[in-house]
């Protein structure tokens, strides 16, 4: 069986799983097929899943970009998002900076953090064993959490901005902030795609992940490409922070609620593979949304993680990954 065949099978399996998870619990509960498929709240949660997927896709893109180029997994990636959320919160709620300025400033802050993480930590570990690199970025995770706890306290902070929601149909209400998050994330994905495929710098970023040494022959300073990618990855974390701060409270441990998921999405999609990560983000978000709808929110995560573990047996290299 060829590689393409495997992928087709995976799509079929995922679609079947999706349909089962969507309708079977309701059919069992209601005992009626028509009632189950015409449940508007089911569709509302599917849409919410889709919207959540956009933000997860954005996060996984940033992590994949850095991994693809630098070949180091930033375990602390979600903590950079957390710092970005604090940055926006403080600028807006404490210092009264309008959101239109606070948000771009938040992106600049996280881009600078991304740059600093590479320059101060990763750059010195490029030739170390992978386990040491993981320990270092894992250490940064605790460092960032502790810094945030010391600096900002453990209170849950909220921007206090509500964009409200609008009715899609009579019964389905869509939150503006979620829709905006999805739209911005989608636009950013398109923008990143164009950057990576249409520009010299973007092409170089893809190229260096395929052959490090040869890019030197092409006249590219490896360290500079690493720094640029780390800063872009940091900036993407900041963009995600802008979108998340509208929906969630900020606290020093907020990164834990989406950091592990982001990491699993990247692994499920095939580490470093942006297309795979993009697809995996939506698989995860739908599993979470549907599981959460039929059972409890926590069950949604259980389904997603069980799916992840099962997939690691079936396809350890990820959906779009290559066997090496």
């Amino acid at each position: 069986m060829g590689k393409i065949d495997t992928r087709v099978w995976l799509v079929v399996i995922a679609a079947t799983l999706f349909v089962c998870l969507a309708y079977v619990p309701a059919i069992v509960r209601e005992g009626d097929f028509v009632l189950a498929v015409s449940d508007v709240f089911l569709y509302e949660s599917m849409i919410n899943g889709l919207l959540l997927g956009g933000v997860l896709a954005l996060l996984s893109l940033g992590l994949n970009l850095i991994f693809g180029v630098v070949d180091v997994v930033w375990i602390c990636y979600a903590e950079i998002v957390m710092l970005g959320m604090y940055g926006i919160y403080y600028l807006h709620s404490v210092y009264g900076v309008p959101l239109a300025i606070a948000m771009p400033a938040g992106i600049l802050i996280t881009a600078a953090i991304g740059y600093a993480v590479h320059e101060l930590v990763i750059r010195h570990l490029l030739d170390s064993a992978p386990i040491n690199q993981l320990l270092a970025t894992g250490g940064l995770l605790f460092f960032f959490q502790s810094v945030a706890t010391l600096a900002f306290g453990i209170d849950f902070r909220n921007l206090g901005v509500s964009l409200g929601s609008f009715p899609l149909t009579e019964d389905i209400y869509i939150s503006w902030s979620r829709l905006a998050a999805f739209a911005v994330a989608a636009a950013c994905v398109v923008f990143l795609y164009l950057f990576l495929t249409r520009t010299f710098m973007g092409t170089a970023i893809r190229a260096i992940s395929q052959d490090r040494e040869i890019m030197t022959l092409m006249g590219a300073a490896q360290g500079r490409l690493y720094l640029i990618s780390s800063a872009i990855g940091g900036g993407l974390a900041g963009l995600a922070a802008c979108l998340l701060v509208l929906q969630y409270d900020v606290h020093p441990f907020v990164g834990l609620s989406f950091g592990p998921i982001t990491f699993m999405i990247c692994v499920l999609g095939g580490l470093g593979n942006m297309v795979g990560g993009f697809i995996a983000a939506f698989i995860f978000s739908e599993l979470i949304a549907l599981g959460g709808y039929h059972f409890d929110l926590e069950w949604g995560y259980v389904f997603a993680f069980v799916f992840f573990i099962a997939m690691m047996f079936v396809r350890p290299e990820g959906i779009m990954g290559r066997r090496s």
Partner: protein, 234 residues
């Protein structure tokens, strides 16, 4: 154009080049021949900065190569077609060529150079959207040479361009070396295929166990008994 004087180089504790002195004049084609493991590839890698020289001097048109950062060497007009071609396998032919024009000075001329390379290799134009990893060996070699030509180099370093190719394709690659010379490029070529390479170059150096053993005009070397016995199996 390019001069190496008393260059030493190696990997870790292993020294691969001893006291190499070599000169390539503008407009010339020069070959470096020698057995496997003689240090031919190391020599190319030292010139393009992929491994540092441990001693000696290297100059390109009067500019010191030893003091130049590896990624700046291409800006001095040296393009290196590495051993085993080393294309970016999961990128299109055109993206590979685009990376050949990555240096800022070459970016402005990108479309003009692309046309030049496509004229030289019409095959590359046909396959420009195909992944480089899916090309045949000969096509990959053309793509690798095309990529090196994108930055409008003065000196082209070719490392074993005929390795692993069918005899018919090998002929075409050497024919290509001739065409590239007619474009006014200076060529330094490392080859195992001694008989063929001596027909397209002006001069050659014989590298053995990391040292230059012999040098001379191509016809002279091709006629020398020692070379014929050791490298041509005649």
């Amino acid at each position: 154009m390019l001069t190496l004087s008393n260059v030493d180089a190696g990997y870790g504790t292993f020294q691969a080049l001893f006291d190499c002195t070599l000169e390539v004049n503008a407009g010339e084609a020069v070959a470096v021949i020698g057995p496997n493991g003689a240090g031919k590839t190391t020599l190319m890698r030292v010139i393009s900065g992929l491994i540092p020289a441990r001693g000696g001097r290297m100059d390109m048109e009067g500019r010191d190569l030893v003091a130049t950062a590896p990624h700046r060497i291409v800006e001095l007009g040296i393009a290196h077609v590495p051993e085993n071609r080393r294309l970016f396998p999961r990128m299109s032919v055109e993206d590979n060529l685009r990376m050949g024009a990555f240096v800022p000075s070459a970016r402005a001329a990108f479309s003009r150079r692309l046309e030049f390379v496509y004229d030289l290799f019409p095959r590359m134009k046909e396959r420009r959207h195909q992944f480089a990893g899916t090309l045949s060996g000969g096509e990959q070699q053309m793509c690798a040479i095309g990529r090196a030509l994108m930055c409008e180099p003065k000196l082209l370093l070719l490392d074993e361009p005929s390795a692993g190719l069918a005899p018919v394709i090998v002929q075409r690659i050497f024919e290509l070396v001739r065409i590239i010379r007619e474009q006014g490029l200076t060529v330094l070529i490392v080859e195992q295929n001694v008989q063929q390479v001596l027909r397209v170059v002006d001069r050659a150096y014989v590298l053995e166990a990391g040292s230059i053993r012999m040098s001379g005009a191509a016809e002279e070397l091709a006629a020398s008994d020692e070379i014929r016995r050791l490298y041509m199996g005649l």
